[in-house]
């Protein structure tokens, strides 16, 4: 007797409710799901309307693209609302990039940039080969080459005093020197702070906490006004070099904490394993702990490099004119005094700083994700 009904084939699954999937569902749940949500969306839309169209109008639509003086960027001459005055940036571009570096010698700066980029890019790509060689070239050889290229005085290159340096050149020189100098200093301080020797540890803690406890400006003032007093009177000390010393000390203290964080992420078993193999302190640290610690610390390191890059702007307070300082000097030029000059200059510098910092922070995020997959449990 065949009374039971047994379905032999599966029913085709129903499509999901229209309103929870796709664009419609997105709009419904993420933008207009409930009264509060709708109000928030409207507030957000108003904010967008208040911010984006004026910014686009200023930067692109109403902007002036060619001209040679302030007259080309005035509402009176153009007879329309004026946005960004880009000719101002074009006219001052060399000053923003090189400061007062002699024009005939600016190829040296460009060559240094090109060398740096050529060495940096393969270093940032994890899959590129010859990492050790590359790192030695970038962190060891490149600074020496760059120093002689920029300063000159050898191989027939005319000497260029640092007081002619300025603009982005100074920003990058300070950032780069800070990075190169703070790495070894940071490693030593981090090792000292983790050391079992009480006096060494105490000295390192005092050093680190001292520099981390004071603002960078006081460090720059210290380097500019106090440091020369501490050195024998006949030592001539370049102003830019003084600032570099201050920046390296300051960045080194922060780097030490970043590396210490990385060392804490190295499992205890690594230390014990190294000791069991009979490695001494320096070999244990150099071959086992530090390579792992530095790898763990890369994202935080890049973040502190970003902070360093942003902090280089402070040197304008001790009369070294980086990009921001040149910008401020350019504002004083009566040939370009218009109501929009300030906003144009800030827009240009803002885009410049944002692009570099943003690129660096994305790289930090990328390395973080890459390392995360390896270490995740």
């Amino acid at each position: 007797m065949e009374t039971a009904f047994v379905r032999r084939e599966l029913i085709a699954p129903l499509p999901p409710p229209l309103a929870t999937r796709g664009l419609l569902g997105f709009v419904r749940w993420r933008l207009f799901g409930g009264v509060l949500n709708t109000v928030l969306t409207l507030v957000g839309l108003v904010l967008l309307l208040l911010l984006v169209p004026p910014a686009v109008r200023f930067l692109l639509i109403d902007a002036v693209w060619s001209g040679s003086s302030r007259a080309d960027c005035l509402t009176e001459t153009l007879g329309r609302p004026v946005g960004a005055c880009w000719p101002f940036i074009f006219a001052k571009f060399r000053q923003f990039m090189y400061g007062f570096y002699p024009e005939a010698e600016q190829w040296r700066v460009n060559l240094t940039y090109a060398l740096g980029v050529a060495l940096l890019i393969p270093l940032l790509i994890p899959r590129a080969p010859y990492k050790t060689l590359n790192a030695v070239a970038f962190f060891g050889v490149f600074p020496v080459v760059a120093f002689f290229l920029l300063v000159g005085g050898v191989f027939g290159l005319p000497h260029v005093e640092t007081r002619y340096w300025g603009g982005m050149l100074v920003s990058l020189v300070i950032t780069f020197t800070g990075i190169i100098g703070s790495l070894p200093l940071g490693v030593m301080l981090a090792l000292g702070r983790a050391s079992k020797l009480p006096i060494v540890r105490m000295l390192c803690v005092i050093f680190i906490e001292f520099w981390r406890g004071v603002p960078l400006i006081t460090v720059l003032f210290f380097a500019t006004y106090m440091l020369p007093l501490f050195l024998p009177g006949n030592w001539r000390f370049d102003p830019l070099a003084r600032v570099l010393v201050g920046v390296v000390l300051f960045a080194g203290a922060y780097m030490a904490e970043v590396i210490r964080g990385g060392m804490q992420a190295v499992p205890r078993g690594q230390y014990e394993g190294a000791m069991a193999l009979g490695l001494g302190y320096w070999r244990m640290m150099g071959f086992v702990v530090l390579p792992q610690a530095l790898k763990y610390a890369i994202p935080a390191m890049v973040n502190s490099f970003i902070a360093l890059f942003k902090d280089t702007t402070l040197v304008l307070i001790v009369s070294i004119f980086d990009l921001l300082g040149q910008l401020r000097a350019a504002f004083a030029d009566p040939n370009w005094a218009t109501p929009v000059t300030l906003f144009t200059g800030f827009a240009f510098a803002g885009i410049f700083y944002f692009l570099i910092s943003f690129a660096m922070s994305r790289y930090a995020l990328y390395t973080e994700r890459r390392l995360d997959t390896g270490a995740r449990r």
Binding site: F210, P215, T218, F222, T313
Partner: protein, 436 residues
Amino acid sequence: MDRELRKPGTGTDKVGPPRVALRNNPKVRSTFYQVVVLLLVLACAYAFTVNASANLRAQGFASGFGFLGNTAGFGINQTLIAYSETDTYGRVFLVGLLNTLLVAVIGCAFATILGFIIGLARLSPNWLIARLGGAYVEAIRNLPLLFQILFWYLAVLGAMPAPRNSIGLGLQPILTAIGDAFAGLGLPAATVEVWRSLANWVGPPDVYINNRGVILPQPLLGEGFEWVAIAFGVAVLAAVVLRIVARRRLDATGRTFPAGWIGLALIVGLPLAVLFALGVPLGFEHPQLRGFNFVGGVRLIPELVALLVALITYTAAFIAEVVRGGVLAVPRGQSEAAQALGLRRGPILRLIIVPQALRVIVPPLTNQYLNLTKNSSLAVAIGYPDLFAVFAGTTLNQTHQAIEIIAITMAVYLTISLVTSIMMNWYNARMRLSER
């Protein structure tokens, strides 16, 4: 080491610590290295001192802190305590320190509020709001702070109109603007009139902004206002005591008592009650435009406004990230378990989520407060008279006492940092104890 252990003839049945050469003895070695390091540091310090005193003698500057008693002879455009050009450098130091603390306190308070709003906005289920919060954080964090300070000072406040065309910040201008917009759209005159009469009813705004700063109404404290302050203090004290008693009772009997709400009512209610009992000895002096300038009210100098706006918006972006991280650090299971226990939404937030999130949030939050305080030294770039600007700036230029002045300035910031980190260590230790 090995060789010595194996040396024949020395072995007895005694098992003791292996005898090693003196230079391999860990204790001797570590002492030796430390003595070397210490000697190096001391030698450096000695060389610095010798050089410094020789250099100072060569330049003919007196060292020591005697200059603090000399007459400063320069004016300061914002002072919280009485100050005149005939006062001493010591007084200048005090004025600068108070100005720094003013920026730090106001900045921290508002940066916290803005930071929490943006941090929570980034966590909002609303897609648009979360994206806007993210855009804010990215834009602000990737621009140098000095850039932002100069932007607010030079470009924004510098572009403000002269005092006689000041921009009023309040409801009236907004309502008038809406009315004008309605009129511009060609809507019926009656609807336009509604907005205009509303604007008239609200009256002129109390806050004005122009290129000389921001003008706020000035509170005028009348006779007996100190009693309100005393009442406030008493109420705070009572609320604290109430909370402790309620806690004890909870621990002893398990019965809850709404100490928080009653305490809040006390803190708000008691001063208000005293205020009304005394016939409201509090008024506001409203700023009014007379001729070319304002009469009445307090004026915040543009340097202070620009510095505060820049510091608050900048630090808020970092605080937003701290808040977001803290909230995300509380595992989902916590709120699910609380729901399973039958707690409602309010208590879940108050008793489960917030305490755990705060434990993650507070240490980096204090760090941000510290950063804000240290960053306030950037005031020197726009001429706000903070500690750094008047002391390490003007005073240093006039007296050339570089070592003393920079040492004092660094010591002030170091003290603030150290006190904060000591408090943080105490807080962390307390929080760790309550963990398990």
